[in-house]
Symmetry: C2
């Protein structure tokens, strides 16, 4: 499922950036348990929240979806 | 806003594919007025529906978000 693929991709990029889930969620002002469920592929996340995550990772949406 | 940028991108790609809004929405089994509002940038569309649109356009999500 795409929610799972996207969650794995976000987790990889966040790990590459060297941030914990908690620190990253805080940095983008997103509820920590909601964010954790996104990484786990359990949320049908909306484009506004996807953009928020891309911004927090300092990457474009194109880069975020690379390979997906 | 990202919803507007994405809507414009989807409209462009759908036009390039030579399909009307109505025909395209029908082909992906999406409500036509909902789909029209996505192209107009008025919907905080979710990843599952974004994927549905990418599939209908026969492109990857990476391609859909190119330049965004």
């Amino acid at each position: 499922m795409i929610t799972e693929k996207l969650g794995r991709r976000i987790r990889l990029l966040r790990n590459n950036a060297g941030m914990s889930q908690e620190k990253f969620a805080l940095s983008i002002d997103m509820d920590r348990s909601y964010y954790a469920s996104v990484e786990s592929g359990k949320r049908n996340i909306s484009i506004n929240n996807i953009e928020k995550i891309a911004n927090g990772l300092n990457i474009t949406l194109e880069e975020l979806f690379k390979g997906l």
